[in-house]
Subunit: 195 residues, 2 copies
């Protein structure tokens, strides 16, 4: 039975991060989200702001062209180093014991672990917009664009580094439509898998 | 909360049908699988063998070309009539109360129902082959081809009639890797959603 290391990939605004936090709280295990950035900064020597900026960016999809046209080889090398540091940090924390990992292609980096439970959380766009407006008080009109931009970046980043399709059910052990199932219930199901 | 009408789409050999039967047994509600063929035969006047043969076939993806080249307009019209009959039967049984529906694009045909829970069940190919060999005693070598053929047909059929991608997590409320989660556990989770 998998479930000692739980990875959560999620569409922006789907509540995947909240679900991960709930699961970690209930199981009393660490949850790594923004904390990963700090660890990557320590590991790589890059500033956490720089990592955050580069993170979930897939500019390097046209990396050769970029390098030839703009001489941006340094940026490309940095992205590769950040990716390597991300993998190292993920292996390290998974090696330390049970935890929840939010995003960062955790599911693919750690795919060879027998005790991995991979989760994908999604929801219809209108429900995600509603959720973001309610929780973060953002403007309904601009939020649709932000949702699309964020999802597009996450999809491209995942595809670039893992060669797998983000959101393809076949890549995950469990996928939830959080708007239909409910945030609490999603957390319940994942928590039960662990026991 | 959705879950009064439960649709299960599944990869061949993933145990989706078994999961559906277990859920229906536990909830004491009907499960429609092969039974749908009988109902479609009654409704349409076609023989059930003919429906079965045509079912989950997507030959009509090149329907115009077929019609022009081989004069197979009758077959195409029949396929359309079978599809219409399938939709009518699905609406009828969903109208009669809670049930589990296996395959037949039930998730898309009934997508406008507020009380629908849509499930997709998959598993890695090697696990599916193993399961089929264990349960049905089929030959391991020929089974891989059969798995691929069946999945290909289901994918094409789903795509043709629903314009959606079979197995895309975004199309379902819940997706399971039955090899990781376990058949019984999948049935547990779905059953809990109903309550």
């Amino acid at each position: 039975m998998p479930g000692k290391i739980i990875t959560i990939s999620r569409q922006f605004g789907s509540g995947g991060r909240t679900i991960g936090r709930l699961v970690a709280e209930r199981l009393r295990i660490p949850c790594y989200d923004k904390e990963l950035i700090e660890k990557m900064a320590d590991e790589s020597g890059f500033a956490s702001e720089y990592i955050e900026e580069k993170n979930e960016s897939a500019h390097s999809s046209s990396r050769l062209l970029n390098a030839l046209s703009y001489g941006s080889m340094t940026a490309i090398i940095n992205e590769e180093r950040i990716w390597e540091s991300q993998c190292k940090v993920l292996f390290d924390i998974a090696g330390q014991g049970s935890c929840v990992i939010i995003g960062r292609c955790g599911d693919r980096v750690l795919k060879d672990r027998y005790d991995l439970l991979t989760v994908f959380v999604h929801a219809p766009e209108e429900k995600r917009a509603e959720r973001i407006v309610n929780i973060y008080g953002e403007n309904e009109i601009s939020i649709r664009k932000r949702i699309n931009d964020k999802d597009k970046r996450r999809r491209a980043y995942y595809q670039l580094y893992t060669d797998c399709k983000w959101g393809d059910a076949l890549n995950y052990d469990l996928c939830f439509n959080s708007a239909a199932i409910g945030i609490e219930k999603c957390a319940d199901v994942i928590t039960e898998m662990y026991l």
